[in-house]
Amino acid sequence: MSTLTLKNIRKSFGDVHIIKGIELDIQSGEFVVFVGPSGCGKSTLLRMISGLETTSSGMISIRDRDVTHVPPARRGIAMVFQSYALFPHMSVADNITFGLRLSHAGKDEVTKKLAEVADILQLTPLLDRRPKQLSGGQRQRVAIGRAIIRNPDVFLFDEPLSNLDAALRVQMRLEIARLHQRLKATMIYVTHDQVEAMTLADRIVVLNAGRIEQVGAPIDLYEHPANRFVAQFIGSPKMNFLAAKIDVVEGRQMAVAGGIAVQLGDEVPAQPGEDVTVGIRPESLAIGGEGRQICQARIAVVERLGSETIAYAGVDGQEELLSIKLPANPQVRPGDLVPVTMTGQRVHVFGRDGISIRSQI
């Protein structure tokens, strides 16, 4: 059953088009993450769903009800803000029950629901405090509590973790994931952090310049990026891109870029001599070993992260350094000339328009 449907949603201010026609169907209980660089329109889209932002054209429906022109409070949504948006003059309890009290809910009902929500979020001992007396993580939980108590059809999260420090962010990420499992509610979550997107989402919507670039499960986006934009946005460290020409050597289709020759297999629908971009993830490369050698490279920088090591190597005829993901403690030093090999089978080929021609041999 679909909970939220967006039909050709657009938003513009005069001649400036922010959202350029979004089509999306979100299933009940799904955790969907909108991800994209800043200014891509992801927050605007979320705010249009919430009703805080008007929609220039198109239709938003929640549970098969057209809510395009319905005020936010009657859409069946709840929203968690980046800044938490807690009222400084109210206690935690009053913040959480704000909406209930506005609608003149009975005192018993308010108390009962508050107790439930406080229990879920472990806020019970903090109910009498003011927001100023809470830590960042606690404030975020209060903000989530205010959303839960509304029992909405759709939860909207607008970059909820970006004001927290790194350690707390990981912890809150886990809490949100567990909350989703517990409530089985539909959640839409906006972030610019692809790690948050990958770890939390059932489905990721990659947005760029007001358009959807690709929608899919995290692993799909990682393995089959539809275009260059998605390929470089998902995955860390970033995918290597090489400007290449299609060539046929000994009957095998190759992509040749400067000093690098990558074998593609024979099913890529591209003519010899055609300009393409080849994308290879750092984790598909290795130094030496059993894989097929694609080039010789000189190591420029080695970043040892403990659990893994990233080597950046220069190749003749290539402007950008090639990043190579290596095991924990490899024997490489800057200045070494090394053979670079392909371990993984995955080579992504993008046409001149940036669209994936074929993403797998």
Binding site: G51, L52, E53, T54, T55, H69, V70, P71, P72
Partner: protein, 285 residues
């Protein structure tokens, strides 16, 4: 930001909005009426006003009131005196405020918070509290009936607000900038003049507009400290001339307008700074 508040999904025409607009327009007219009244009276003959025609629109542009006022040599003296007080006093209070503001913001010491609060509190006391001793002081110095007492007093009375604003502004200059300059071998004085001050031009603009306006509009100090006509400031002169042109309402209107002209000009051109200064001075007080 405001767009975001406004654009919450709501019907595009809001009858409330229209009601609010009408409400504001009526209030604005009421608020403007006194000022418009002066403007109208300054453009009319005394006879017209006495005949009850003040509130009708002038049929022809009658500028004699302004001519009379502008030709009065006393007015020239008042203007000059006020300028001779306002310019040095504005500059002096700002310079002193810069010095103390810098220390409170960048070189705090034990007890500096208390000292700062004590100075700022000075802003709120009625001047009557120090009227008599100052009168005695300037009398003893033989400075009564000169422009000096006003210059000194306005510099001193300006210290609280100037200290407050400059401290708040210097507080926004990152400590790292000062430290970087110190490491480069700059003295504290060079940090102030070469780093902090060039960054503080907006604060200086705010303070100059505020101080100038207050000093220009002041009345109490010259009332106490001056006697002779050629030492009067514009506001004092205004009250004095009111007697001279007692029923010449049109001339009085022109007088008021001309006396307010400098501050009106400051307001028109520096409205943003002016409002900022008023709210900053008030909110952070």
């Amino acid at each position: 930001m405001n767009d975001r508040l406004a654009s919450a999904a709501m019907p595009s025409f809001n009858p409330w909005q229209a009601a609010i607009f009408v409400c504001l327009a009526v209030l604005a007219l009421l608020f403007l009426a006194p000022t418009i009244g002066v403007l109208l009276s300054s453009l009319k003959t005394t006879e017209d006003i006495a005949l009850g025609k003040l509130w009708s629109f002038p049929t022809s542009l009658y500028l004699d009131n302004f001519r009379t006022v502008l030709a009065d040599p006393a007015i020239h003296t008042y203007f000059l005196n006020t300028l001779l007080i306002a310019v040095p006093a504005t500059a002096g209070s700002i310079v002193l405020g810069i010095l103390s503001g810098y220390v409170f913001a960048k070189l705090p010491f034990r007890g500096s918070d208390v000292l700062f609060l004590a100075i700022v509190a000075g802003m709120f006391f009625p001047p009557q509290v120090i009227l008599i001793p100052l009168f005695r002081l300037f009398n003893g110095l033989g400075l009564l009936d000169t422009l000096w007492p006003m210059i000194f007093v306005h510099i001193a009375m300006g210290i609280p607000i100037c200290t407050l604003m400059m401290r708040n502004f210097f507080a926004t200059v990152p400590a790292a900038l000062r430290e970087a300059a110190i490491i480069e071998g700059a003295s504290e004085w060079q940090v102030l003049t070469k780093v902090a001050l060039p960054l503080s031009l907006p604060a200086l603009a705010v303070l100059s507009t505020l101080q100038f306006t207050w000093i220009w509009n002041d009345f109490l100090w010259p009332l106490i400290f001056t006697q002779s006509d050629d030492k009067r400031t514009i506001m004092l002169g205004l009250v004095f001339l009111q007697g001279q042109y007692s029923v010449a309402w049109g001339i009085q209107g022109a007088l008021s307008l001309i006396a307010s002209l400098p501050t009106l000009i400051v307001f028109l051109f520096f409205q943003r700074y002016f409002i900022k200064g008023m709210t900053m001075g008030a909110v952070k007080g």
